[in-house]
């Protein structure tokens, strides 16, 4: 337990750091407002053109609350891969690696510390905007039920981003990988369009990938909560978390042997 106390402290310090600049945090979170407004315009017209109140099991209200949570998860995620890449490029990685803590656990604690407050502010702004546009969610309890899956989503996103960040040990600049990862997460995670609206073959394919466990699963659970869905989302997510954690540890150990530090 004592072993984990230092990571809890790292988490707390990063969280307090983010609280130290509330203006900046609020400014950054304002972005969710135009996003939700434009999504509302798009889906209002789409539902109206389709002449249907429900499309693939989702109403306009469900769709907007779905997109709000998806945006909240995405916009709250710190740019971990870029930070790790910067650490390698400017040599500061040397100072992080020789400290008496595990590098990956340090990164995870710091990333979560950055995420929590940011997510809260995004959810408040996004939630208020969507509430004003389409009204209260049909299943408000869904957001509580989905909480464990949302944390699981952040953990999965951490694993995937850390792998990209670790590639900086070999290639230094990881921006191209982060762009592509982000867009794959958009498309296969159902971030801009719920996977329900995809053709069946693409839905099946997307649901087999970790991106859907890191986005679609938890978000869909929040708008259509049920015991069966909860069990199915959590089971798949845990399987991905186990697989990706193991893979991350292997990549990290291999990466360490290839790292070249440029000064620092």
């Amino acid at each position: 337990m004592k072993h984990f106390a230092k990571y809890w402290s790292i988490f707390q310090i990063t969280l307090l750091n983010s609280l130290a600049y509330p203006g900046e945090m609020v400014g950054r979170s304002l972005m969710i407002i135009p996003f939700m407004w434009i999504f509302y315009q798009l889906w209002k017209v789409t539902f109206s053109t389709a002449g249907a109140d429900v499309i693939s099991g989702l109403t306009l209200r469900d769709t907007l609350w779905y997109l709000m949570l998806a945006e909240t998860i995405e916009l709250s995620r710190p740019p971990l891969a870029r930070t790790m890449s910067e650490n390698v490029k400017d040599g500061s990685i040397a100072y992080i690696l020789n400290k008496p803590y595990d590098f990956m656990l340090y990164q995870f604690s710091a990333a979560m510390g950055e995420t929590i407050f940011r997510a809260l502010v995004n959810a408040i702004f996004g939630g208020l905007t969507v509430w004003w546009l389409v009204g209260a969610p049909n299943h408000p309890e869904g957001f509580i039920i989905a909480l464990p899956a949302i944390f699981g989503a952040w953990f999965l996103q951490f694993c995937l981003n850390a792998m990209i960040g670790l590639s900086a040990f070999v290639v230094e600049d990881v921006s191209a990988f982060t762009w592509i990862y982000q867009k794959l997460a958009f498309i296969f995670g159902g971030m801009l369009i719920p996977l329900n609206f995809y053709p069946q073959w693409l839905q099946t394919f997307a649901k087999m990938l970790p991106f859907s466990s890191a986005m679609y699963g938890p978000v869909y659970l929040s708008v259509a909560p049920s015991r069966e869905l909860f069990i199915s989302v959590m089971t798949l997510q845990l399987a991905w978390i186990t697989a990706l954690t193991i893979l991350l540890i292997i990549i990290y150990r291999r990466g360490l042997t290839q790292l070249t530090v440029n000064g620092g």
Binding site: R28, I38, Q41, A50, K183, F197, P199
Partner: protein, 260 residues
């Protein structure tokens, strides 16, 4: 003419500098093209399912995405520092440009090339060719529209980022307006009406970077050309005036150093 020669010299130097790291340049160019393609695939999925949005179909999206990507890419390649002007101002890094006998604004924004811009620029052209609207006179309009849209975009960046002379560090605000510009630029203009449309022509001139140039490329009208020209001249004037007024308030960061 003298300034134009100066610009050419800077761009040449930037290009040589980017070519020093050919691997990184290529990775970023190809990476950005793949990135754009995957992003666009979302629209393909959307229009495959819902066919059109108030008369706006996938082919219109190809053109809009194309012109937006090309003009964004052009600005990244030629005026890369426009994206980080607020940082340069707030951190006192204008000292370097002020100490040289060249136009400060032009020198500052043109002193950086963002390699991934080549990927955006190229992808934009490919997207237009694939749109089904391609004609040779359309290509000429594409080039003109791209130049005007890029002028609006770079001017908008300079204008918003010059507010750093008054507000200090404002990278969040800069990111906010940049994201808003790109997000609104790519969505079908037919979604918006009334005040929303007015905002997209003025406060966040995304329509002048996406929908209006796209309309001009599809079919020539004097009206769209006038809108683009007026937008480009108006925003350029606004950007230059704001920067110059702000420059009077600039406080040195005592940071005369080599800018690479």
């Amino acid at each position: 003419m003298k300034e134009f020669k100066f610009l050419i010299a800077i761009w040449k130097t930037n290009l040589q500098s980017a070519m020093e790291y050919r691997g990184a340049f290529l990775t970023q160019t190809i990476g950005m093209m793949v990135n754009n393609f995957i992003y666009f695939a979302i629209w393909i999925i959307f229009f495959d399912r819902f066919k059109d949005v108030r008369g706006w179909g996938i082919n219109d999206m190809y053109v809009t995405f194309g012109i937006l990507a090309s003009s964004f890419g052009l600005v990244s390649l030629l005026f890369g520092n426009a994206f980080m002007l607020s940082d340069i101002i707030a951190k006192g890094r204008l000292d370097y440009y002020l100490s040289l006998p060249r136009p400060v604004l032009l020198h500052t924004v043109a002193s950086r090339t963002i390699a991934s811009g080549m990927g955006d620029f190229t992808y934009g052209l490919i997207s237009y060719v694939a749109s089904g609207y391609f004609t040779w006179d359309g290509l000429a309009r594409y080039i003109l529209a791209m130049l005007l849209a890029a002028t609006v975009f770079v001017s908008f960046l300079i204008f918003t980022q010059s507010l750093a002379f008054w507000l200090g560090m404002m990278s969040n605000f800069s990111n906010l307006v940049l994201n808003a510009m790109l997000t609104f630029g790519i969505y079908p203009i037919t979604l918006f009406d009334g005040y929303a449309k007015l905002i997209l022509f003025t406060i966040i001139p995304a329509a002048l970077m996406g929908a209006i140039p796209a309309e001009f490329i599809r079919a020539f009208t004097w009206e769209t050309l006038a809108q683009l020209l007026l937008g480009a001249i108006g925003f350029l004037a606004l950007a230059i005036i704001t920067f110059n007024i702000g420059l009077r308030r600039y406080e040195s960061g005592s940071a005369i150093q080599t800018e690479v």
